[in-house]
Structures are given as structure tokens and as C-alpha cells.
């Protein structure tokens, strides 16, 4: 591996890492949003991501709806399904026992149901490509080559992240979401309708996953198993501290870049294990992750 | 002052710059009840948690029965015979009253290998049942802690601490939220424990009636420093104490 090649690999690794990392960041955001407000790690995030992609594919390819109609419809359906799942199922589970283990198992149940439904349509078996809305001819940045689709993915992802931050920081809805996350009892006293906020958060999180799916589907091809990319998003969320939105974004880029660099400089077989090693390293040195809040001493 | 069971010397505790307790010292005689009082935020609970080794002090020493315990972990306290109760109830909610008590007697169940394995080691059971009887929890022996009413939960806190068979009992606002009838019962119980059985008690409390009735000595804290100490009567008349509680003007015209 001479120096000149190493520099090429480095540039390409960074560029590709940022592109795939931006999608991991979006997914990580959707996971952290739910965890911040309801202490539930959403193990169905991958399947929501997959089901949204198939919903869009179904509308666009098999119902031949125009793009400007299919995408909003997909986002709306994702929002509805997630909000209904929160309202119909998780509220009852929380009321029934409220222990986090039960809530996690309920989200696991959702992931199996979604995977089963998509597979029953029969479209989940052979890999399918999603019509790319942006051309895929390549562009050079330094020595790294990139397609216009990649750049579109990166830009769109950053825009969505900015929108989420804006919503959380400056809007009334965002403030009520953060309040519910910090102290549900107090938020209720301030007149915040807890249930409505949870539905909103789950719906919004599904919309973000759907957007991530629409961005990445043309690039990574669709199968019923594409939800497995969520493991990378979980890694990103953990690295970022699992309770911080900016952390999730940084975590996403870190995992995307590490995945590429490990593939380039160590071995392709190690790509799969890289995120788990990153998680263990981060948690050993910073148990609360890069951006996570410090451990509050338990007030006795 | 004969040799004290517990002496705290120049204790200073600060949380990131804010000094909660500054250069605080007390000495507690064996078999006496020593009350720590003062307005909210005076540093009572902080001192209490530091004595029970939950917090690490920035400076100062804590000596129990001649042995320095400043740097021991809080899990070592029960072994030395120091027991504590919690201000806002840290019961084992999903477990029954009996099991809460058995865990209280944890340090006494380690005798022989047989004791370690037994679900109900006989010797320990006798002592626990005595305490259960004494604190009036007998009817609730098999009830889960979370199903008890507030009064009985407070009693269980105390009973569980007594199961350690302590030489020093640290009580953090045991009377808070209790009705008068329950406070009276607590009064007789604590005085019997101290007077008849020689148990040393340090109590942090706001219910002045109880403090004045059972305490041998009272220490008053305000803004983290000791402003008065003495018998209940002495402390009652002390202007600095009144001022700390009721503010300046009243003291002038009073």
C-alpha cells in the first residue's frame, strides 16, 4: 500500500463515509428522539425504515403515482402507522407494566409484524432498485469519486437534521417534546398532553426513517432484510450518547467513516464488526457516550 | 465529654464549587439521641449522607468508636453497626415486609454456610420477628412493601434499619408526613431504644415537638455551618437559632 494510494483511499473513505454516515445519522436521530422522550430503544426502527421504502416503491412503481404524490403519501402513512402503534399498543403496554423490558419486546413484535407483512406481498424476495430521483453520473471531489445521487443524499440529510434541530429548539411542539423527555409528571402539570406528544414523536421519528429510506434505497437496493442497516444506526446513536440529538448526527458520520476506513485499510471482512468495536471503545472510556448527559447522582 | 461513639471533625463538602457544609464538627455520646436541625438547605441531609458514607467529603474526618471511617464505602457501614433510614423511602418495593427485613439482616446471615443458604435462618428470624412485632408490622408480614400505606412504609424503613442490630442509628426525617398518633408512637420507641437499650441515634428532623421531646443534645445548622449546640432548652432560647428560622426583625422586637 504505497502512500499515494493511501491518500486516495483516505479521501474516498471520508467522502463515502460522510454520505452513508448521513443516512445512519438520520436513522440514529429517529432512534434517539424516541428514547429521549420515552426511555424506549426502538428495536423496530429498521423495519419502519424498510416498510416505508416498500410503501413508496408500491405507490410509485406498482400504482405508477407521480413522485410528488407518492412521497408525501408514504411519509403520511409512516406517520400514521407509527403514531397508531404508539397510541394503540405502547400506551397500553406502559400502563400494564411500564418496565422498559416490556416496551422493548413490544417494539420487537412490531418489527416481526412489519417484516412478515412485507414478505407476504411477495415483493420482498428478489432485491429491487428504487427509481433514483437524481442522476447517478459521477463527480470528482479531490481524488474521491461520488455520484450526484450521493451528494443529494448528503444535502437532503443535512437539511432534515437542521429541520429537526429547529423543531426541537424553537417550536412549541419541540419544547413540549423535550419537557416530556425530561420530566413527564411536571410536563403534565404544565398542561402538556403527554399522549399526544408521544404520538407526535413516534410519527415524526417514522417520517425521518422514511426520508432516510427514500434517500438510501436507490443506493443500497431494497430487500425485506434491508432493516439490518439499523444496527449501524444504533451504533451511531450509542457513540453519540443515546440521549443527544447532535450526538446522534456526529455518531452517524463517525460510524460511516470508520466503516469505510476499516474496509479500505484493514479488511473487508472487518467492516461488519467495526461499529461494535467503536461502541465498546466509546462506552469503556465515556460510559455516557460522546455527548450524553453526565450521570446524575441519585438524590436520596 | 467521655469518649464519644461518633466524632465528626472539620467536615467540608462542596458540589462543584458550591460549599454545602463548611468546617462542621460534632461528637455524639453513646446511648444518647443527637438531633440535627436547621432550615431547608442548611446542609443537614448532606452531612447525614456524608456520615453514612454516601457522599465523599472534601475535607475533615469521621471517627466511629475510635476507628476512622472517612474513606470506607457505604456498604461497609452495616458491618460496623451503623444503620440508616432514607428521607424519601428506599424500600425494596416488590419484596414483602419479611424479605425487606431479611435483607436488613444481611450482615447477620453470613455466619455459617448453612445460614448463607437458608431462606429463613432461625436465629435471624427470631430477631426480625421481634422487631416486626415491636414496630406493629406483624399483620403486614407477607405484604409487598409498595402495597403498604405511607405510615407503615416509614415504619418499615425504621424496622429494616433496626434489623442491622446497629450501635449507631442514623434517621433522616423519620417523622416527616406522619400523623400525630404515629409521631407519639415513634417518640416512645426511639426513647426506649436509646434509654433502655443504649442505642445511639442521630436524627435529622423538622418536627420540633419530637426533636425537643427525645433529644439529649441538639445541633443547629444554617447555610452549612453550625450556629448553635446544646440541650433542647438551651437551643430553644438561642437568638441565632430564632433568627435563622424566623428572620431578623422578630428577633429584635421579641
Amino acid at each position: 500500500m504505497d502512500l499515494e494510494l493511501a491518500i486516495l483511499f483516505l479521501q474516498q473513505g471520508l467522502v463515502s463515509g460522510l454520505v452513508i454516515g448521513s443516512v445512519y445519522a438520520l436513522l440514529a436521530l429517529s432512534i434517539v428522539m424516541i428514547f429521549k422522550t420515552s426511555e424506549v430503544p426502538n428495536f423496530a426502527a429498521g423495519e419502519v425504515f424498510m416498510a416505508a421504502a416498500y410503501c413508496a416503491l408500491f405507490l410509485m412503481v406498482f400504482r405508477a403515482l407521480p413522485v410528488w404524490l407518492a412521497i408525501p403519501l408514504t411519509l403520511a402513512t409512516s406517520f400514521l402507522v407509527a403514531a397508531l402503534f404508539r397510541r394503540g399498543v405502547l400506551t397500553q403496554v406502559a400502563k400494564a407494566s411500564g418496565s422498559p423490558v416490556n416496551l422493548v419486546i413490544a417494539t420487537l413484535g412490531l418489527s416481526y409484524v412489519l417484516k412478515g407483512l412485507v414478505r407476504r406481498t411477495g415483493y420482498g424476495d428478489t432485491p429491487r432498485s428504487f427509481p433514483a430521483l437524481v442522476s447517478t453520473d459521477s463527480v470528482m471531489i479531490g481524488q474521491a469519486s461520488l455520484t450526484r445521487l450521493d451528494m443529494a443524499i448528503f444535502v437532503a440529510a443535512v437539511v432534515v437534521m437542521a429541520a429537526v434541530f429547529w423543531l426541537f429548539a424553537y417550536t412549541k411542539v419541540g419544547r413540549s417534546m423535550r419537557a416530556v423527555g425530561m420530566n413527564p409528571k411536571a410536563a403534565r402539570l404544565m398542561g402538556v398532553n403527554i399522549e399526544r406528544v408521544h404520538m407526535l414523536v413516534w410519527g415524526l421519528s417514522a417520517v425521518i426513517s422514511a426520508i432516510a429510506a427514500l434517500l438510501i434505497a436507490p443506493k443500497i437496493l431494497m430487500t425485506a432484510e434491508m432493516g439490518s442497516v439499523v444496527t449501524m444506526a444504533f451504533a451511531a446513536a450509542i457513540v453519540g450518547g443515546f440521549t443527544s440529538l447532535p450526538g446522534a448526527v456526529v455518531g452517524g458520520f463517525v460510524i460511516g467513516i470508520v466503516e469505510n476506513l476499516v474496509g479500505l485499510f484493514i479488511s473487508s471482512r472487518a467492516i461488519v464488526v467495526a461499529p461494535f468495536l467503536v461502541i465498546m471503545l466509546v462506552l469503556i472510556f465515556r460510559p455516557q457516550g460522546l455527548f450524553g448527559g453526565r450521570f446524575a447522582i441519585k438524590k436520596v | 465529654m467521655a469518649n464519644p461513639l461518633l466524632s465528626v471533625e472539620n467536615l467540608t463538602i462542596s458540589f462543584g464549587g458550591i460549599v454545602a457544609v463548611r468546617d462542621f464538627s460534632i461528637a455524639v455520646e453513646p446511648g444518647t439521641i443527637h438531633a440535627l436541625i436547621g432550615p431547608n438547605g442548611a446542609g443537614k441531609s448532606t452531612t447525614f449522607n456524608c456520615i453514612s458514607r454516601l457522599y465523599k467529603p472534601n475535607a475533615g474526618r469521621i471517627i466511629f468508636d475510635g476507628q476512622e471511617i472517612t474513606h470506607l464505602p457505604s456498604s461497609a457501614m452495616a458491618g460496623l453497626g451503623i444503620a440508616r433510614s432514607f428521607q424519601n423511602l428506599e424500600l425494596f418495593n416488590e419484596l414483602t415486609v419479611l424479605e425487606n427485613m431479611l435483607i436488613g439482616a444481611h450482615v447477620h446471615c453470613g455466619g455459617s454456610f448453612g445460614d448463607r443458604l437458608a431462606a429463613h435462618p432461625p436465629a435471624v428470624m427470631r430477631e426480625i420477628d421481634a422487631i416486626i412485632e415491636r414496630t406493629g408490622l406483624a399483620p403486614y408480614r407477607e405484604t409487598k412493601a409498595r402495597n403498604l400505606d405511607f405510615g407503615h412504609q416509614k415504619l418499615l424503613e425504621l424496622a429494616r434499619a433496626l434489623a442491622i442490630k446497629p450501635r449507631l442509628l442514623l434517621l433522616d426525617e423519620p417523622a416527616a408526613g406522619l400523623r400525630n398518633r404515629e409521631i407519639a408512637a415513634l417518640d416512645t420507641l426511639l426513647t426506649d431504644l436509646a434509654r433502655k437499650e443504649g442505642l445511639t441515634i442521630i436524627i435529622v428532623e423538622h418536627v420540633m415537638a419530637l426533636v425537643m421531646s427525645i433529644s439529649d443534645r441538639v445541633t443547629v445548622l444554617n447555610f452549612g455551618t453550625k450556629i448553635a449546640e446544646g440541650t433542647p432548652a438551651e437551643v430553644k432560647g438561642n437568638t441565632a437559632v430564632i433568627e435563622a428560622y424566623l428572620g431578623k426583625e422578630v428577633a429584635l422586637h421579641g
Binding site: 426511555e39 413484535g109 416481526y112 412478515g116 414478505r119 469503556i284 | 464505602p73 424479605e99
Partner: protein, 308 residues
């Protein structure tokens, strides 16, 4: 009431090999192995309240170490299984020292990452684990007798399953069990009662890994081909689901959950196109209407004395 239940179970266990086919015995072996695996999870999550998601990794260590000890070094069965259990417990302790500095969700995520990294190691350490091709191990043997068929292995599997259930009951009733439950309920209060909380959590972690290692050893009794594919997160989640659906916090729940839920997923094999949806719905419905698990649900409904 519970005595009747135990008696019935004993009759079934003894009668099974004489009246049913090898397939049913194979199923029984798998269910009993999963019972021991679930007991391990019961100790670390049910008793000590530490949310560990690395269980399949310790199960894998148990299988590989037992298999290799038997095949390469020719050691007799129960010895190989104990070595497997101890090896898994040792790794459990090491990981516990690091992971137990973290709490709740971070502990779950750190153990999840460790479990996935271990599965990658099983998949790629070709020299030792045979990598993706899987590893063929010699049948377990004891005093010259080789355990080849399922019916050979069955009595030993039952023996060790009962031993491990007994051990779990022993631990749960003993001082250690109470200490673990105290840590689960309130660490600060447990500390005040003289319980060294970190050491108790570490012990729970090591014990749970030991149980998983023993379950791995039991697996090598009736199966001589090990494939890393079944030693990842899906197996951990299956065991966790069994413990939660059975009833988190009760031994009867862990054992019952393993048997009942293990049968459900075998029955679902008969309805291929629906099984994923059915499995998902079962989880959701249980979590909504039987949060304390199947056995608590049955006990409340029929007023029988509670299990465990």
C-alpha cells in the same frame, strides 16, 4: 397445587422417551437446553435487574469450548461441560467488570455490542471455530459410552436441566438471591444494608454466563455440528422473550416461558407464511395484556398459588 404441577412434569419427563419418537425427544432436548439458558437470563435480569444482551455469546463460548475440549483433548462429557461453563463465566466476569460501570440502557447496548462482536469472532476465527463452515465435533462420551442418538442424550440433558433448576432455586432462596433482588430494587438501600453492590452485580453476571455456558455444553450432547449463525442477537432475543413472556422475576416464569414459547415457535414452523406476523403479534399481545408473564396471568385468572 404446585406439588401437583411438579408431579405431572416429572411423569412426563420420565415417560417421554418410552412413548414418543426421536423427533419429540430432540424437541425436548432443545427446550430443556433453552430452559437452562433462560435461567441464566433470569438470574442477571430477573433477580439482579441488570439488562444484559450478550447471552448468546456466552452460550456460544460454552458450545465451542465444550466441543473442542471433547474433540481435541478427548475429555469425558461432564468435565468438558464444566470447562465450557467456567470459560463462559470467566469471560462474563471480565466483560462484567467493564460493562457494570454503566447503567440500564448503556449496559444493554454495551453487552449487545459485545454479543455481536463475539458472533463475528465465531464466524471469522476459522482456525478454532471452523468459521462459516461450522465445526464438526466428536460426540460427547463418558466412561467409553458415546452419546449419539437423541434418546442417549435425553436422560443426561434432563438430569442437568433439573440440577440447574435446583441451583437457581437454591441461589434465589439463599442470602445471595436476596442480595441480588435488593440490588435490583434499590442499589443505594442495598448498599446501606451492607451489600457490596458492584461485587453482587459482577457475581450475577458471571453466574448468568456460567448458566449459558452449561446450556452450551448440554447442546453438544445431542448435536455434533456447531454453526455460528445461531449464536447471535436473535438467540439472545429469543431467550429474553421466553423469560419475559414466561414472567420476569420468577423461576417458574423462566422455565415455563422456555418450554411454552419454545413449542410455539416450533408449531409456527407448520404455518410458514404467517409465522413472522404471528410471532410478532404474540409478543405485542403478551406485553399489552400479560405484562407479568404467562404464569402470573394464569395464576391471576385461575387463582392458583403463584409459581416460583
Amino acid at each position: 397445587m404446585r406439588i401437583f404441577g411438579l408431579l405431572l412434569a416429572a411423569i412426563v419427563l420420565i415417560a417421554l422417551p418410552f412413548f414418543t419418537t426421536g423427533y419429540v425427544i430432540y424437541l425436548a432436548n432443545i427446550l430443556l437446553t433453552f430452559t437452562v439458558l433462560c435461567l441464566g437470563l433470569h438470574i442477571v435480569i430477573g433477580e439482579a435487574g441488570q439488562f444484559s444482551l450478550a447471552h448468546a455469546a456466552f452460550y456460544g463460548i460454552g458450545i465451542y469450548v465444550t466441543g473442542i475440549a471433547g474433540t481435541k483433548y478427548g475429555l469425558p462429557f461432564p468435565v468438558t461441560m464444566l470447562i465450557g461453563g467456567v470459560a463462559a463465566a470467566a469471560v462474563g466476569f471480565v466483560i462484567g467488570v467493564i460493562a457494570l460501570r454503566m447503567r440500564d440502557i448503556y449496559l444493554a447496548l454495551a453487552t449487545f455490542a459485545f454479543g455481536e462482536a463475539m458472533q463475528w469472532l465465531f464466524q471469522n476465527w476459522d482456525a478454532v471455530t471452523g468459521g462459516p463452515n461450522g465445526l464438526r465435533i466428536a460426540p460427547a462420551h463418558l466412561f467409553g459410552h458415546e452419546f449419539v442418538t437423541d434418546k442417549d442424550a435425553y436422560p443426561v440433558v434432563v438430569l442437568f436441566a433439573l440440577l440447574m433448576i435446583g441451583l437457581t432455586i437454591l441461589i434465589s432462596r439463599a442470602r445471595l438471591g436476596r442480595a441480588l433482588r435488593a440490588v435490583r430494587e434499590s442499589e443505594v438501600a442495598a448498599q446501606a444494608m451492607g451489600i457490596p453492590v458492584q461485587r453482587a452485580k459482577l457475581l450475577a453476571f458471571g453466574l448468568s454466563a456460567f448458566f449459558a455456558g452449561i446450556a452450551g455444553g448440554m447442546f453438544t450432547l445431542f448435536s455434533t455440528f456447531i454453526h455460528p449463525e445461531s449464536l447471535g442477537f436473535s438467540t439472545t432475543m429469543l431467550a429474553l422473550t421466553m423469560v419475559v413472556v414466561g414472567g420476569l422475576g420468577s423461576i417458574g416464569g423462566a422455565v415455563g416461558g422456555a418450554i411454552v414459547f419454545g413449542l410455539i415457535s416450533e408449531l409456527l414452523r407448520q404455518a410458514p407464511s404467517f409465522q413472522e406476523i404471528a410471532y410478532g403479534l404474540i409478543l405485542i399481545i403478551f406485553m399489552m395484556y400479560a405484562p407479568k408473564g404467562l404464569f402470573a396471568f394464569l395464576a391471576d385468572k385461575f387463582g392458583r398459588a403463584r409459581h416460583g
